[in-house]
Symmetry: none
Subunit: 217 residues, 4 copies
Amino acid sequence: MSIVSPSATKPVRNRRNPEVTRASILEAARAEFAEKGLEGGRVDQIARRAKANKQLVYYYFGSKDELYKSALEATYAEIRALERELDLTALPPREAMVRLIDFSLEYLDKHRDFIRMLSDENAHGARHVRGSEMALQTNSPLIALLSEALERGVREGIFRSDIDPLELYVSIAGMTFFYFANGLTLSAIFGRDLTQPRAVRSYRDHIVKLTLAGLGA
Amino acid sequence: MSIVSPSATKPVRNRRNPEVTRASILEAARAEFAEKGLEGGRVDQIARRAKANKQLVYYYFGSKDELYKSALEATYAEIRALERELDLTALPPREAMVRLIDFSLEYLDKHRDFIRMLSDENAHGARHVRGSEMALQTNSPLIALLSEALERGVREGIFRSDIDPLELYVSIAGMTFFYFANGLTLSAIFGRDLTQPRAVRSYRDHIVKLTLAGLGA
Amino acid sequence: MSIVSPSATKPVRNRRNPEVTRASILEAARAEFAEKGLEGGRVDQIARRAKANKQLVYYYFGSKDELYKSALEATYAEIRALERELDLTALPPREAMVRLIDFSLEYLDKHRDFIRMLSDENAHGARHVRGSEMALQTNSPLIALLSEALERGVREGIFRSDIDPLELYVSIAGMTFFYFANGLTLSAIFGRDLTQPRAVRSYRDHIVKLTLAGLGA
Amino acid sequence: MSIVSPSATKPVRNRRNPEVTRASILEAARAEFAEKGLEGGRVDQIARRAKANKQLVYYYFGSKDELYKSALEATYAEIRALERELDLTALPPREAMVRLIDFSLEYLDKHRDFIRMLSDENAHGARHVRGSEMALQTNSPLIALLSEALERGVREGIFRSDIDPLELYVSIAGMTFFYFANGLTLSAIFGRDLTQPRAVRSYRDHIVKLTLAGLGA
DNA sequence: AATGAATGAGTATTCATTCAT
DNA sequence: GATGAATGAATACTCATTCAT
């Protein structure tokens, strides 16, 4: 009566080595959480995306929450790596500032998933970030880069001297983040499609203008 | 075992005040969704908060999603009402701009729930806003106020003339929104408590400075 | 705060007299139960169909089950009335038999609701019929008519004499009822649309042929 | 407080026999749906009958509707298997016809559940049958058997030649099905217990008589 | 007679997680 | 390391019925 005959070998599919399995689960988790958020993301779906057994998710990550933390860390690691590649020190202060704005805009434009994860994390009281050694330790190199560019500008007499680098960072991040994070709502309410590339470019010019003039000595 | 004292009658609802019942459910929903988000909010909990029978939630609002939409609309209605009270036309251009920034900061500081709902709504593709006549129709009066102040500033020769009001609005909203929306994460990562009133005041000065200088002719 | 001002008169809509209200609820119930069955039928929907207040359903009928019984009785009363109009005594035995078959087929074809109610009632162990004085008392006049026609046929030597009228009734009812009751399934399985008028006519001829020959002396 | 005695182990399912688990759920579903119908059947109850966790029902069958479809298919498969065993070709035409009638009567008499499911399925527009590859493909072998017996009868000059096999099948099925399907109602209304074995035998003789005479050349 | 508001027990379904191998 | 089967607690939503006026 049994469909599976006793002699039938189990479909052993574990061709991949552990690291690959783990990595594919993590990747699947990032995609899932970025799309659906922490609550909306499904462990089942993550396993399916990773083409792995659901139990493996628990074997490697312990729980959904831990997995989320790992996904968050991976996301942070990625952006930090890109930030580290930004060589602002090679650029004159104004160009450095523009470069920073462009970097921020481009990254967010291309990585909407980052926006979702960041929003979600804050909605949950930054619980995972706080519990993450990694996220806390490797803080953004941008502040240092920004500080340095700011100082050079001040020294050259083109930037005002009463600007706090962290506050500047937050305001630039805010202007760029909010644009993409709330783009859909803004577009709906104001009847103007802010997701169009043209609109993005125009907004970029606006921020650059505002910031450079704002920093002007 | 009973929490209720023997003499306590069952919490018979106010049968003559359906509006009150409806309003209390809506209020409970706003609180619940603001705390837990759309997915995290529980209909059961909303009913309990409103001291209403769970079925009443459905009786009055049809579904969790509709209820969320109603909560969102109520939230929008509230902020719009406040915005309408902002009499920027009575102020000189610079003061008007400062007033706007202050309003934005103060509102967000006091209404963290608004932040959560806005983030959540965007995470869900602005689905409810798009489906809401009300949210779409009564769009923010701020843009008009901002336009007017901007124009006056330009006429007076104190503001530059190449600023788009909507883009300015978005950038100001971004700077303020992001600060509160991501305050917890930022605080954790940078090891500096941005939620302290002092920090908020300092950031406020920063934005004002940056914006006014940025708009300067 | 109240939307309804105290002075606003209640929308008194009870223009109709009680009998009309009761009748419209009953009619709505018949339609609803015929479509959805006892379990599938919704009291809410019945009230809406009848444009009556839901509570009125209870006021007039006591419970959903009682209402179902009433609907069933109304359905029976209707078909019995039609049966009583059948004047088989005026027809020669063979024609009487054909008339009976045609009546049965036509009624079922036009009143699919009757089929649903009868099936449903049986699925529930004929519970309502058993509890209905009316359904039990006014039993079908068809048996008497059939008996009489059968006897005449026997006397005339054209019908065999060993036929029990009730059994004949059941077999004719079966042949006609089953055709419509299970028409959809039969059509699906045999890939032949039995609901087409042509198919119905052909089947009618088949039954007539089979029955008359079957009864033949 | 615990109902379970300390020594009683939790009913740990047979982890090595998923087929058994699946089968027991299916069996429980057939029983439940046959008794209560599609709407009346409770998933909870099915799980309990099968001594399985409720979630397993979903694990194996996806939804109540799919489960119903599977139950329907199992029921069809069973009757088809029996039909295939009917060796009408070995019998003379008249005997073949009688055999068919007896088979039909006996099956329905013993499997009241089949009647309920068939009625219910039709009440739902044959939705599940239409969506079932299996039900559509393995259509009844009876039609072929019946055709063959009919033809032989015609060739032997004992059956009339203008009989359509499908229509004959439907009329026989109708006479038998209706008897059991509506037996309770008929018994109640006519005050004659048709469920008694004696009554069944008598009705059987009636159908045989009617059919054979009806088919007579 | 009529009405809208309120209730409680149910009902299918989902989901993170663990077991046994 | 890997797998499929199993579990329990939730969760949104429904429905017949009753209350108070």
